[in-house]
């Protein structure tokens, strides 16, 4: 599979996740927070592709979250948060692939961390919907939902990414 086709596939998965997020997941109004499908997809691609690819997928995925209507926040906030998530997960990928506990902890940290980071950034830019005192609770709830959903999202996307991504093996030797 060529690089263009791989990226097209990645983009399709990200778009499906971003649209499913606002059409299907967010209208459920789950208590505390929403599970973050795009974060889980970014996590899976970073796990399969390493830090560079993870950061790129994170950036594109975050930008999609910023731009998918009815999003109203400043563009770039989630791109920044997910770039860091992709890079971090990609960096730790070889170790995470060896332990389930480590993997689930990483999902929790990535989910909670991205909520706190994007929340603080949005608050600093003047978004008063973000209550800093409630951010911790939102982060914990998001982490919990994402850990519960990860077998259904991270696993299939990871398998798909590894099948189409010969770069996964190459980047592992970079570390």
């Amino acid at each position: 599979m060529g690089a263009a086709a791989r990226w097209a596939l990645t983009l399709v998965v990200l778009v499906v996740a971003a649209v499913a997020q606002v059409v299907l997941v967010d209208p459920l109004r789950l208590p505390g927070a929403s599970p973050d499908l795009v974060l889980l997809v970014v996590f899976a691609f970073a796990l399969a592709g390493g830090p560079r690819h993870g950061a790129l997928v994170g950036f594109v995925g975050g930008l999609l979250v910023d731009l998918t209507p009815p999003s109203d926040g400043y563009v770039g906030v989630w791109a920044l948060a997910f770039t860091l998530v992709g890079a971090g997960v990609g960096q730790l990928a070889p170790r995470l692939r060896r332990s389930v506990v480590g993997l689930l902890s990483a999902v929790a940290v990535a989910a909670g961390g991205s909520v706190v980071l994007a929340g603080l950034l949005a608050r600093a830019l003047g978004n008063h919907n973000v209550a800093v005192t409630a951010l911790g609770r939102t982060a914990v709830a998001a982490a919990l939902y994402d850990v519960l959903l990860s077998p259904f999202v991270v696993l299939p996307v990871f398998l798909l990414a590894r099948r189409v991504e010969p770069a996964a093996v190459r980047e592992r030797s970079d570390l």
């Binding site: 209208p27 009815p70 999003s71 770039g76 994007a118 929340g119 919907n129």
Partner: protein, 327 residues
Amino acid sequence: MRGTRRTRIVIAVLLLVSVTLIGLDVRAGGGGLVGKLRRTSSSVLGPVERVAASALAPFRRMVDAFSRSDADRIRALQEQNMRLRLQLAAQPELAAQSAQLARLLHTAGLGQFPMVFARVMAIGPAQGFEWTAQLDAGAVDGVKVGMTVIDGSGLVGRITAVTSTTCTVLLAIDNGFTVGGRVAGSGQAGFVTGRGPGLMTFELLGTSAALRPGARLVTLGNDPGFTPGVPIGVVTTVQATPGALTLNATVRPYVSFLSLDLLGIVISRPRTDPRDALLPPLPTPSARPTPSASASPAASGSPTATPGASGTPGPGASPGPSASGSG
């Protein structure tokens, strides 16, 4: 080694681009390059959401799959129901109005706002950092930025972005939402601001005005394009800050924002301000929120009756309470 260095450069560049985008968006305030990017993505992803939402509609109803004709019939009935509820809301209040006001109300068309109906397709993402929704009506239906969005119980929000077939509504509970509000039954005006789920605040201009919990608020309609007379909510608490130039109150909105489905977009201003006609009736029929001080003892008239009623099962030696109770 070289790979690691390239990786670091790529990550640094991506972070820099993110920060630059944020900076551009903050500076341009919705316009410029980022605004263009947002409009492009809306016009591409809006229709995708439309398709996805209609495909998932049976699932979201959480009952067995409806056939297409059933869904259409239900939608038509819901639209009719919403119109009727708006008209019904006008009835009790109308009976109590003066003849002059009643004439005004008749010309206002009893809340028959020229409306376009739309369904919620998608809800604002990002962990409650934004309170927005995407609706399945757009520029081709006559929707424009700044229009008022309502449902059967009152104010839902304001249109902030429009594509050809979809539009974005900023919900009235978003902290970025502010609208002119008026206390029903009086001319007292101020600003209503969103404060998250189930909460709004009302800033009344001038502290001399009396504002009590239970006062009902409607939109003032001073902003261009915004509809007057739409019910907003009920004042729950009033905080008077000594020395302040304004009076602050918390407001419980009429609309339940966590279960929005079918909404109406008011596509043109009603010919006459419907004033208070669309408000739901008060719990106690006699108490109308008037600024005059004599209204409250007259409305609650029963305090003299209560001691009399409690006195009757007593020894009966004292004629006072029993007399007032029987009389």
